[in-house]
């Protein structure tokens, strides 16, 4: 058992789940964790209504790794924001992880996000005044965990992404690839069921991008995380188990 596997086992046993490394892809056979029904998201520009998402239906099974592609303005990020609970649809119903998020209030939605969703951003979005460990610990501040337990979990998450030796470094002391791995550690530290990644390799060179995608694959396969990734990069999309294309607010 190598160190990463040990870290993974530690992380899994902590959250009460068993790693499943034997089944590479199980997406098609499992129940959907994300269910969109006739989702409409409209914005108003001056007096003109713009339907960015137009009666979109979508089912994403639990444990899948899906890539969402499409030209700029096709509605990818808008859909991702809706699924992540950052926004609400204008019409339609959206059920994520068994909760109808389209009907939730702000406070409930924030709490739900903090428990259900892990975010990986294009620009990493680490807090510059905090160390890698403190950045990873951030989502746990919203839990009832004690200080030492929070720290321990953050260390495990950093071990999973291979950055345990950089835990006391600040973001400006890390490379872009390392920053994104810290971002991924932050996304998984609270053990969310779903990870949403908005152009996670957009700021990285090929080598770093491959490392990040490999890490996402691991999280999907070994930790059974459902991953929804918005990307323009065909090489990144190839790593997903399902690639969906969106254009003018509709799935192709």
């Amino acid at each position: 058992m190598n160190e990463d596997t040990a870290a993974a086992s530690a992380a899994q046993s902590r959250v009460g789940k068993k790693p499943d490394t034997s089944e590479p892809t199980v997406t098609a056979k499992r129940a959907p964790i994300i269910v969109c029904r006739k989702i409409v998201r409209s914005f108003w520009r001056a007096k003109e209504r713009l339907d960015v998402l137009d009666e979109l239906d979508l089912d994403i099974p639990e444990g899948s790794f899906e890539a969402l592609m499409g030209p700029s303005g096709s509605g990818k990020t808008t859909l991702l924001n809706l699924i992540a609970g950052l926004d609400r649809p204008t019409a339609g119903t959206l059920t994520v992880a068994g909760t109808e998020v389209s009907a939730m209030g702000d406070a409930a939605l924030a709490k739900w996000r903090s428990q259900t969703i892990g975010f990986v951003f294009q620009h990493f979005n680490l807090i510059p005044v905090l160390t890698a460990l403190e950045n990873v610990e951030l989502p746990l501040l919203l839990t009832s965990l004690g200080s030492s337990e929070r720290k321990k979990r953050a260390q495990i998450a950093l071990r999973v992404v291979g950055l345990e030796d950089r835990m006391h470094h600040r973001p400006q002391q890390l490379s872009g690839g390392q920053e994104q791995r810290v971002g991924i550690a932050r996304a998984i530290v609270h053990d969310p069921r779903i990870i949403v990644a908005d152009e996670p390799t957009g700021e990285l060179d090929r080598k770093s991008a491959d490392d990040v995608l490999t890490l996402l694959e691991r999280l999907n396969k070994e930790f059974d995380k459902t991953i929804l990734m918005v990307t323009h990069d065909p090489a990144a999309a190839e790593r997903a188990t399902v690639v969906r294309k969106l254009d003018k607010g509709k799935l192709l």
Binding site: K111, H123, I127, L130, L138, P139, L142
Partner: protein
């Protein structure tokens, strides 16, 4: 890491700006402390005035003299006033140093027999007191005045007369020390009899005011009225008041300046609050994207508002603390000592009152918190998606 430590760490986003803001706050606090300490020192005489001591002056103004015979009716040769314990009299002489004319100090011609009985908070060695009483040209001076002009026991001193023209020669026979902080430690006390005998016949036997202690401080008002009634039907009427009231009357001319200083000190704090508010608002604008990230992670608007207010409070605390850290050595060791030694007549005791230090620190923290309220409110109203889109 905790939510509180995260709030405090936020001040590290832009160290240069944080340091400049903290230093700016510290300077504002220093100014506030200096002004408030000056006001406090100025008013120390009033605050610490003896409760059992009365002053009897000419009814019109304290500048006009009283006949010396009035004193004899207090508890002297011509009579006694019920309730008066000990009385003495004083005459303002207004001498100046012949070279350093601009350096003010009080020169008083006093009744050597009774003066130190009425003012026991001015302590002088018994042998020096006796020597002073023996020498009609003797003088007792305050320790601060001795230090100011480098005078010591036995020195022959010539002062320049103003109210009473001419050169006035004295010999330093004693140096008094103050046992209460309200006492002017820079007085020059001479014999009234020496002054009186030196004046032309028509100007003799006049005194400035009578100071008397009463046996029961709670009866001070009644005794004051009794004194004034006693002289009602004489050629010069009197006005008797507590020492505190007289001191306030002395300071009355300066009340407008004191009031202005009071306002200036508050204006300084107001400016400090605006600077803090601007700095915090700039930080909030720059970190909009970061707040968006925190909101996405599940932090609530109340958390964001708390972070902003916490940052303001931290800066206020640091600025206030630094301001006091600078103020104490500057005032207690430097400026305060200099003022006491060189302007002891105005500032007999120049030291930062604990209440002023506490008020300064409290105001720095509270005003910083208030300054952060508007930026905190703005930050708490951020829309998560809009905030995430904002770069820089």
């Amino acid at each position: 890491m905790t939510l509180t430590s995260l709030s405090i760490k936020n001040i590290g986003h832009n160290w240069l700006r944080t340091i400049l803001t903290v230093v700016g706050t510290a300077i504002a606090i220093l100014s506030f402390v200096l002004i408030r300490t000056t006001l406090s020192a100025w008013e120390a005489g009033v605050d610490n005035a003896a409760q059992d001591r009365l002053s009897t002056i000419h009814r019109v103004t304290f500048v006009m003299p009283l006949p010396k015979r009035y004193f004899d009716e207090f508890n002297g040769a011509r009579g006694r006033i019920d309730g008066v314990d000990v009385a003495t009299f004083v005459n303002w002489v207004g001498h100046k140093h012949p070279v350093r004319e601009t350096e003010f100090f009080a020169t008083l011609a006093v009744d050597t027999a009774t003066y130190f009985d009425v003012y026991p908070e001015m302590s002088v060695a018994p042998d020096r007191l006796a020597a002073w009483k023996e020498n009609r040209q003797g003088a007792i001076i305050g320790e601060a005045l001795a230090k100011q002009f480098g005078w010591s026991l036995g020195d022959e001193v010539t002062l320049l007369g103003t109210i009473y023209p001419g050169d006035w020669k004295y010999r330093i026979e004693g140096i008094y020390v103050a046992t209460k902080k309200s006492v002017d430690r820079a007085q020059f006390l001479t014999h009234w009899s020496y002054l009186n005998d030196s004046l032309p016949e028509g100007q003799r036997d006049m005194i400035g005011w009578v100071a008397s202690t009463v046996t029961d401080a709670s009866r001070a008002a009644d005794i004051s009225a009794a004194i004034d009634t006693k002289f009602d039907d004489q050629d010069v009427q009197t006005r008797t008041m507590s020492e505190k009231a007289l001191t306030m009357e002395f300071l009355g001319g300066a009340s407008a300046i004191l009031g202005a200083l009071d306002i200036v000190s508050l204006v300084i704090m107001g400016i400090m609050m605006l600077i803090l508010g601007n700095t915090i608002a700039m930080g909030v604008r720059e970190r909009t994207h970061e707040y968006g990230v925190l909101l996405a992670l599940g932090f609530r608007p109340k958390h964001i508002a708390t972070f902003v207010v916490g940052e303001g409070l931290t800066i206020g605390l640091l600025g206030g603390g630094l301001g006091l850290l600078i103020s104490y050595p500057l005032v207690e060791q430097g400026m305060g000592r200099w003022l006491e030694e060189n302007m002891g007549a105005y500032f007999p005791y120049f030291s930062i009152p604990t209440s002023v230090a506490a008020l300064a620190l409290g105001m720095a923290v509270v005003l910083a918190g208030v300054a952060a309220l508007v930026p905190a409110y703005s930050a708490s109203k951020l829309d998560v998606i809009t905030a995430l889109r904002r770069i820089g």
